[in-house]
Every structure is written in C-alpha cells, then in structure tokens.
Symmetry: C2
Subunit: 502 residues, 2 copies
C-alpha cells in the first residue's frame, strides 16, 4: 500500500514536471511599502479593534460548533454573540505563518505567499459576462472555462482564479465540480476552491487530492478558499463551514472583511480600518483554533459607497488609502496581505474603467500587497467578467511587473560607455549600450498603442476595446491546454460523475 | 511718483482681493515619499552625473553670453562645449530656494512651490486640439481661451497653465501676446509665461508687471517659464535666452530635461537618471549664475521610447520608476520637484488613456512631486489637448487631492460611537456618525458613474467620453470670467496693440 502510494505520488510529480514552463514571471517587489500611518496610529487602530471585540463582540451565525470552539478557548459566548477577552485573538493569530508555498500542479507555477512576493489573480465569482459582440449576459460553463484558458495563457497572472463567471447553464448544486474541473484541467497555475457549502469545499479538496496525490495535500497548500465576513461584525455559517473544512485539511484561507464604508462599515476611513482589522483577525484566529498553523491571508476589500446613490465605488481614492493602511496592519500582524486588483464600477471598458483600475492596482504595490485579486476581467463592481477588460487589465499587470522590479543599478545600467560613445547633441538609438539592453530595458505591451496618429489611423484607428477584442479571440483560438496524466483526468471525471449521481 | 506707485499698487491689490474665491483646494501631501533608491544609489547617480559634466561636458548652443558666464565662473569652455570642475555646480545650486511663493492675481489663488505642497497644472503647448464632435484639428485662439476658462473653473487645478493649444489662426510672432492675455484675463490662478524668444519672455514679464504692479514683480514670483534641455547634454540658445530673461527679472524657472530613454538618453533607467540630473543641475546652476536665488523647479519628463516603433511611450512603468527616483534626486538637491501629469500616448480618451494617465499621475504623489504638469487635457503624447480628456483627467486630480489628505485619525474618525450604535449585523447608512461625516468623508466625482447597470442604461448608457463631452460644454456655457480692474485691462490691451504694431 505504502509502495503503491509512493509510485502514484512519483507519477503525479513526474506528470506535473512535464507540464510546459509558463512565461509568466514571479514577482518580488523592490518597492518599499508606504508607511502612511505612524506606529502610534496603527496601535490606536489595533487597540480600538480589540476593544470593540472585547466589549461589543462579533456574531458567529448558524454554526454551533464554532461557538463551542470559542467558548472552550475562553471567549464569552452569549447566544451567537462572541466577546473576546484581552490577548486571546493576538495569541491565536501568532500561529498563522508569515509565508507559505502555494503549490500548482506544474511545480514551476507554484508561488510563495508572503514576504515581498506578489501574486496576481483574475476576477473570481462574477455573475455576468460581457464582450462587445454579445453584450452583457449570464455566464455559461464555456465562458467559465474560457476565462480559465485566458488566465492560463496570461503572461502576467501567476494565479488561475477559480470561478471566472458563474455558469448558470449548469445545476446549482453540482456546478462547482465543473468549475473546479475547468480551472484544474485548463490551467496548471494555483487555483481557488469552492466555498458555496461544506460539501463543495470538501469536493474541491478531494479533486485537489486526485491531482496532487493524497499525501502531498496532507502536508502542502494546493488550494485556497476566499472567505468574506458578513460585515459589520458577523461571520456567517455559510463561510464558517468552508473555513473549517479547508483549515482542517491544511489548506489556505483568504479572509476578507466585506467593508463598504458608509454602509457595512463606518463612513470614515479610520473607523473602517478598525472594523477591517476586527473582522480579519477573528477569522484568522478561528482558523488557528480549528487547526494551528493554517496558512491565511489578511484580505482587504474596503471601499466607500457613493453617498448620493448608495452604490459602491471602486478604484476611488479612499480605497487607495485603505489599501495602504490595511497593508500596514497586516504587516504588523505578521501575515500575508491581499488587496485590490483592477477594480472599477464602470459598465464599459472605457476611460473610467482604465483610470479606476489603475488607481486600484497601483496602490496595492505601494501597500506591500502579497496577492491581488480581481486583477483581470473585473467590470461593474465585480458583477461582470469582461473579455475585453481582461486583456486591457493585463497591460496594467505588465506595468506592475516592471514597477516591482525597481531600478537596476549595476555598472552597465549606469551607461557611462553610452555617454562616451554618444556625447552631447546626438542620439542613443544605435549605440552599443542600447543594443545590449533594448530587448529587456523597456516593457513591451500587447495592446497599448504608442504609434503616431497617422500610423494609428492607417492601421484602422481602433480604440483600446477593439484591440482587446481581437486579442482575446486570438488567445483563445491559439490556446493549448497544459498536459495532464490521462489517469488523473479519468479519476477526476469519475469523481465528478459519482458526486453528480448523489 | 513714489506715492502714485503706491496708490497704483494698492488699487491693484484691492482688485485682486475682490476676485472671487476659488473652490479649488490647496494640496499638502500627507503621503510620505517613496525612497526607491538607497542613499548609496543616489550618491552613485549624482557622482556619475558630475563626472559626466566634468569629463564630457554639455553644449550651450548659440549663446555667447552664457559661455562667457560659465568661463568667468571657472568652467572649462571650448567652443560651445562646457566642462564643469568639481564643486562648481553643487555650489551654484545651493543658491536655489527650497520653497517659494508663486503669486496669482487673486491672492487667494497664490500657491507655495516646495515642501509638501502639490500644485496641479494643465497641459501646456499642444499643437492640436480634439473633441469628439469636431475631431482632431489645429487649435485657434478660441480653443486656447476656452482651455484657460476650463482651467479657471476646474475644481482641482491650482494652476491655469499657459498655452492650452497653439492658436494657428494668429500670426506666429505676436500670438504669445494673445495667449498670455487669455490666461491672465480668463483666470486668476498662477500662469506660465512665453518662452518662444527673449522678446516673448520679456512681453510675458511686462504684461505681468501691468497686472501685479511693477514693484511687486521686482520682489515676487508671478510668472514661470517652462524650459527644456535639448537632450542629450545640450542647452539650446532658444531656451537660454528665456532662462536669462526670467532669471534676471526674479521670475521662476521650471527646468526639465527632455529625456526619452533609448533615444535622447540611455535606454537604461539609471543611465537616464544620470542624464536627468546632469541636465537639470546645469540649468539650475546657470539660473543662479545669472541671478542668485532664482526660484527653480527640478523637472522630470523621463520616459522610454517604444523600442519597436521608436515612438515615445507615456504612462508606462519605466516612467513611473523614473518619477520616483528623480524625486529623490531633487529632494537631495533641496529644490522643488516637478513630474508628470495625466500623460498618455493614446489617440482617443479610451481605457488606454485612462490607465496610462492614472499610472502617470499617481506615482507623482509617491515621488513627492511639488508640481505636476499636463494634468488635464493631455492626449497623444502631448500633441493634443482634448476637451473630453480634460474633464476625465479632473477625476484623477480629485482622487489625487483625496489621497494626499491621507487618513484622519481624530477621535471622531475612529467611529467608536458608530459601532456602539450599529453593532453587528446591521448597517451604518443612517447612524449619527455617518450623518456627521457623509458630506465630507467620501469624494464626490463629477463624471464617474457608480450606478447599477440598469440605472446607467436608463440614463442613456453613456460612456466616460460622452459624459465628459456634456460636462465641458456645460462648464464653458456657465463660465464667468473673474473680475479685473478695467484700467489694467486697458493697459494690457494698449501694450499688446503697441507690441503688435512693431
């Protein structure tokens, strides 16, 4: 038995090694994080959050076991309200690792979460899909798989995402199996698991066991659950069940308070930060209570609502400030930090969409984020995954990749031989230094157009959406799925068939 | 005589005080600048730049007087090539003030340049103009004045700019007078002066004397010249004449190396930074040689060319890195710093335009910039001033204004009473804390649309360009010029008439 398992493991590892090398670079940021708040300011926020947790407490709804866990740990449990004595939360959070490896079925695509590492993931869980030819519509499993293919072939996404779009053409209670299959089969990058119920969580973990081998999954992170609190100050049973399922199986949790300032959190940024901290640390602490050492990410999704319409805003300046400050809180806590991707509230991939997306993802770098989610495709406050926006966003991700590299300061970067060769009143176009560096020195983007007006016009005068439309269709036409051991493929299919029969 | 001058001055001051108060807020950044390079890295760049200036030198073309000034100061002058002995440049740069007041004819619009102050200026000197109805075309004085009106009525621009667009309907040799008149008459914010020749520079200064009073201009900065080196390593006579004219009259200089990495500067960022420093400090030093204490701004316009097409890129990641590092160099030198506004190479105000503009202006804040130019209207690498882009860019400027404010940490910002009132599983929409803060806590933007898809559709489904089109036309329809003493108006007109007769 032990021997058979060993052979199985070896075969799976071999199959994973054979998968093709991605071009997508790993990112390690050389940008020092911005310390917007003073240490004193951070202490103030932490202290107020812990006071809040002690005096007002949080509700853990519809999950008796969680209430018992808190009670046994020394918390004050009254009904579904839990109040936390001084020290308990911080003590538990200490078990969360500072950094962990998040494995992909292609080991070359495995990533580090934490430190100065940066991982970019696409939009996850949009109910609608959009492209400029078919318009805005409900998603299908074809769309969902196509977004997995785009994530796989993306030169800038280190992560495959999970549910590119909700496939409403499949039955509600089993569609998580097909979604999970798509992201496993059409990508070999790290992926998210289902969180719609305890069962769907266990299914995602089980499918991961088929892919990675049982023993490997016991000791390693291969799937991550994205969990949101039900702000303000509630953890709902629908999230607690997946939290416990993933934690007990040693898998990773991304714990993100769902704070919309003015609606589900205070309208002031400092108030929202206090709540973000309170909700994040209770989730992190609970994960440690369930299973000490559970790898977690401190998530931040904070953004205000438009005080006129009540609609959430995305890519606005307050969200940028929240990103910076929440990053400081996560660093002090000593856990990896997740913040915004290319968020926008625009309904079309226009200038608003472009500027909001940039104002959303660029601060994440200065905030020292380790993972950014919603980095490609996100439109309309995350309700829509857009094919064109996916491609447009990749331009920002390429820019992020270059920015995180920082500035090379080797002797040859200083270009003194170029000045010697060129001197005043000349140009550097053909000099030896330029020839040595031109392939790598300047980022080459895919759909950004730098041409002259005349040349741009001669080439059809396409705007950014139109160029993106051509690009995603070409990417899907040329897509080749990464290889997979046929035995694994069969086992996955058999598992899905069995589960669907139930 | 002295008494008459005093009365004149008092009347002018009075007239300036009467001008209406702008809503446009002054910006003082609470964002700590990012120190991308270490002190050692910065020293390396400085040392290499000074070595370059000592061993290779710079050309000062077509200006005998400047060569004599350098010779008399101890530089090695051979033909038009000037080489600088160790110490000379740094010694001269020490005379440049760390900070200065830049007066507007409405004293309430005067700004501080330096420290943590941030001043936003629109595009200056575009040859073309664009709006979605009339398309791309040459500009007229009507366009030029309309852009002055938009700058004046902008809620986010602290600066009126200068030449919104080149008015080709006016004679080349006198159009600077009409341009200057427009920005003086239709705005009461600080403005740029002409730099097309020594005479045009002196005309701008003279017109400023008419507006501010002669004595006041002798002792105060009321007009600024935007000067570019002719990279690599050349200062051209066409820029040296205005430099001397403004410096001798105690007015301010914005000195910006025109470095396009890969073409007019080395393709590597470190090489380009060395050149930026070399060209900036020679301009700053020359200004001090002409007139000790001349207020200057260290400008940065660094961006690479697209290595495939040779076209300049704007709003790319390399430009962002150059902004951060050049800001560090300026801070070490102890002079105010200017960097990019909302730059883009896009031909239309689309998603590329939006994301590049954001990637261009947001790093400027993290770079600790004191002035950003090209903050509104900039399209197509600065060749085009676009009415719609002007309005779209203001969304980014509003965001910048909020971000620079940082996070309020007063007791009431912490919102503990809101948590008490609301508690878990509720909402903050109507609570007392929200009511106290909702008017000021969340930025209200003009054309960003946060509505639901359905509501957006019901309101016409307009994209960002279409909304901007409606907005600029409304702004111009409703525009009211700031008041001006009729005597000053007459004197300006008489001066222009006299100059045009010559």
């Amino acid at each position: 038995m032990r021997q058979a398992l060993g052979r199985e493991r070896a075969a799976r590892r071999q199959s994973r090694l054979k998968a093709s090398l991605r071009q997508c670079p790993f990112l390690t940021s050389n940008i020092p994080p911005v310390n917007l708040l003073s240490d004193e300011g951070l202490s103030t926020l932490e202290d107020h959050a812990l006071t809040l947790l002690r005096d007002i407490g949080m509700d853990f709804v519809g999950d008796r076991e969680t209430l018992e866990l808190w009670h046994d740990a020394g918390a004050d449990v009254a009904g579904e309200r839990v109040r936390f004595p001084d020290g308990l939360i911080r003590e538990l959070c200490r078990f969360a690792p500072k950094q962990f490896t998040y494995h992909a079925r292609n080991p070359k695509c495995s990533v580090e979460i934490g430190g100065r590492h940066v991982v970019l993931a696409p939009i996850h869980g949009a109910p609608f899909v959009h492209d400029i030819e078919r318009g805005r519509r409900y998603g299908t499993i074809q769309d969902c798989d196509d977004f997995a293919r785009l994530a796989q072939s993306s030169p800038w996404l280190q992560h495959a995402g999970g549910t590119g779009v909700e496939p409403v053409d499949l039955p509600v209670d089993t569609r998580h199996l097909d979604i999970q299959y798509g992201v496993i089969r059409y990508t070999d990058k790290p992926y998210f698991g289902a969180v719609s119920s305890e069962q769907s969580s266990l299914d995602s973990i089980e499918m991961s066991r088929i892919v990675f081998g049982r023993e490997f999954v016991n000791d390693n992170v291969v799937v991550m659950a994205c969990l949101n609190s039900a702000s303000p100050l509630v953890w709902d049973g629908t999230m607690l069940a997946p939290l416990k399922a993933y934690a007990r199986n040693g898998q990773a949790l991304k714990i993100t308070p769902f704070t919309m300032a003015g609606a589900s959190s205070p309208v002031t940024l400092a108030g929202t930060l206090i709540q973000i901290y309170a909700e994040a640390v209770t989730g992190i602490a609970l994960a440690q209570l369930v299973h000490k050492g559970t790898p977690v990410i401190f998530g931040n999704f904070g953004t205000p609502i438009d005080m006129q319409s009540g609609a959430p805003t995305f890519g606005g300046p307050e969200a940028a400030l929240l990103q910076l400050a929440a990053g400081q809180l996560a660093r002090r806590l000593g856990v990896p930090y997740r913040s915004a991707g290319c968020y926008t509230s625009s309904k079309v991939a226009d200038a608003q969409s472009g500027m909001e997306s940039a104002l959303s993802i660029l601060p994440a770098i200065f905030a020292g984020s380790n993972m950014m989610q919603g980095c490609a495709g996100w439109l309309e406050g995350g309700l829509v995954n857009s094919y064109e926006k996916f491609i447009q966003d990749e331009e920002l991700l390429g820019a992020i990749a270059v920015i995180t590299r920082g500035i090379g300061m080797q002797q040859d970067d200083l270009a003194m031989d170029a000045f010697d060769e060129v001197g005043p009143a000349n140009h550097f176009l053909g000099c030896a230094h330029t020839q040595r560096h031109f392939l790598t020195a300047v980022h080459r983007s895919a759909i950004v157009d730098n041409n002259s007006f005349e040349q741009w016009q001669a080439e059809g005068g396409l705007d950014s959406i139109q160029r993106a439309n051509l690009a995603w269709k070409k990417r899907l036409r040329e897509f080749e799925a990464p290889s997979m051991d046929p035995a694994i493929e069969e086992e996955l299919e058999a598992f899905m068939a069995k589960r669907k029969q139930k």
